[in-house]
């Protein structure tokens, strides 16, 4: 197991190097000089040149890239052009909000989505099954930020019971978490349903029923457990993308997370920040995938890591 983790982490290195190269080259292809962004238009040519030199922007690109990677390895992602603070510190400030939103959203989506999927499969071809399928296709068709706006209108404006922007109390978490949870649970419900349908028609489920086990026991103990692998994969994908910050939902609710930081960085052409966030997001993805693969072993003892 330990060897497997080390191996997987090693395998992530080229991927992350690739990601850093892609992000670095795109950011440095950006038309517009970051130094011009930092200084105002009246800065003299001399000032511009000095700042470029200080930031190392006058060096050849390969050298700049090497410096960026070497810095990143030591945990130094450079300094934000917008705030003048270290990129790592800025991201660390925003991370708790994104983590909170991610886990709140998944805390809603996992029980709700999985339960809906199980019920739909158990009551196949009834109204509740059709309803689940409608919810599932609406979930991938209706833009989440529109759901967010409608929730804001109903609960924030009409009923006036929940705040619609910011993050100063636990109440602020409710609407963004529901918005994210709605999307994720529709995907989960669909996956759970199709997995359950497959398992429910298998021999061992028929055996379990034949020996007189209660329907609920068969459903949750025998069938659901064997459906969990694809479901856990989807949960992993969802958590991975939420950890990167939900660019649009955070923007909608003025939620002070990594996603909002990223949008701000892009608008301000704050390139060290863009590089840092890109690298962080990709690492989060790789890490979550690793955790998902470890969970497979817990769910299915036949899976061996070597």
């Amino acid at each position: 197991m330990f060897v497997y983790v080390i191996k997987r982490l090693m395998a992530a290195v080229p991927t992350l190097l690739g990601v850093s190269l892609v992000i670095f080259s795109m950011v440095h292809l950006t038309p517009g000089d970051p130094v011009q962004v930092m200084l105002d238009v009246h800065a003299s040519a001399d000032q511009v040149a000095r700042l470029r030199h200080e930031m190392g922007l006058d060096r050849p690109l390969p050298e700049q890239y090497a410096r960026f990677v070497w810095g990143a390895v030591r945990g130094d992602l450079g300094v934000s052009l917008k705030s003048g603070r270290p990129v790592g510190a800025e991201m660390a400030d925003r991370l708790p909000a994104t983590l909170l939103l991610t886990f709140a959203g998944m805390g809603i989506a996992i029980p709700f989505g999985v339960l809906l999927g199980v019920i739909a499969a158990a009551k196949r071809d009834t109204w509740i099954d059709s309803l689940t399928m409608v919810v599932a296709i609406l979930g991938v068709s209706v833009p989440s930020f529109w759901i967010g706006i409608v929730l804001m209108y109903v609960f924030g404006v009409r009923l006036n019971v929940l705040p619609v922007a910011g993050a100063s109390s636990w109440k602020h978490l409710i609407l963004p978490a529901i918005t994210l949870g709605a999307l994720a649970s529709s995907v989960l419900a669909r996956m759970t349903r199709s997995g359950m349908l497959e398992v429910l028609s298998s021999d061992y489920v028929r055996t379990a029923r034949a020996k007189g086990l209660a329907g609920k026991v068969v459903l949750f103990k025998h069938a659901l457990k064997n459906t969990m692998i694809p479901v856990v994969t989807i949960i992993g994908v969802q958590i991975g993308s939420l950890l990167g910050g939900t660019f649009i939902i955070e923007q909608l609710y003025a939620w002070p997370g990594v996603g909002r930081l990223a949008v701000g960085a892009i608008q301000a052409r704050d390139y060290p920040m863009m590089q840092g966030i890109g690298l962080y997001v990709a690492s989060a993805y790789v890490l979550v995938n690793l955790v998902v693969d470890m969970v497979y072993g817990l769910l299915d003892p036949r899976i061996r890591y070597s």
Partner: protein
Amino acid sequence: MKLFRRFFRKKAAVLATLYLVVLTVTAVFANQVSPHDPLKVYSVHTLEAPSQAFPLGTDNLGRDILSRIIYGGRVSLRVGLMAVLIAAVIGSTLGMLAGYMGGWVDQLVMRIVDVMLAIPGILLALIIIATLGPSMNNLVIAVGISSVPTYARLVRGTVLSAKEREYVEAARALGSSGLRIVLRHLLPNIFAPILVLASLGVGVAILSTAGLSFIGLGVRPPTPEWGGMLADARTYLRDAWWMFTFPGLAISGTVLSANLLGDALRDVLDPRLKQ
């Protein structure tokens, strides 16, 4: 013909097709069918509720929302279709190269795909937009490029399995060139899955377009675009429910139709893909 009949037996697919046809026709003939100029500001009619003159109401500047939705359909359809075309062509070419050539080509292509998959699609699109600047064409490129890996993977997998079939071996034995084998024997095999993925991809592309415009990194104002209209509506939630309701319905209806159409196509063309 049998395929057509099977397709039109599904009520949802027929409705979805109808919706998309109406949307396409109104978008193409927007000049003729929209009641007002989408950019015209009626300054005495700001934030008006739906009425006979303005069937879906007006926005904060006094522009007709129905006309803006009709014109916005042009953006969504153009970006949706073009982005999918880019993604499908580049992705399938890469996938075919990797699957057919194997060896280091395969290794190289799949490493690139791995890297792209490690960056979430929306972030990749954001970075591309940041690099190229926000505009309609760059939006097409950003949304298109970010879904290239999906096609590359699917096509590679399909080619790998098709390559081992007897008819490909037979063609090779008969002395067909590599290119001929790919175009005449492999391409028809992967056409159905690509078409299915593409029809489902249109919905994703339209959602990304609206999302990017919503956060101000897509189509620039004053060009009417559904996501941009929702961004404007945010400030006027209290005063104008029609400003956020109708553009949202337009996006949802379009993406839903594209998805239903994709599902139906999949059932008809490639029942194996059915979940």
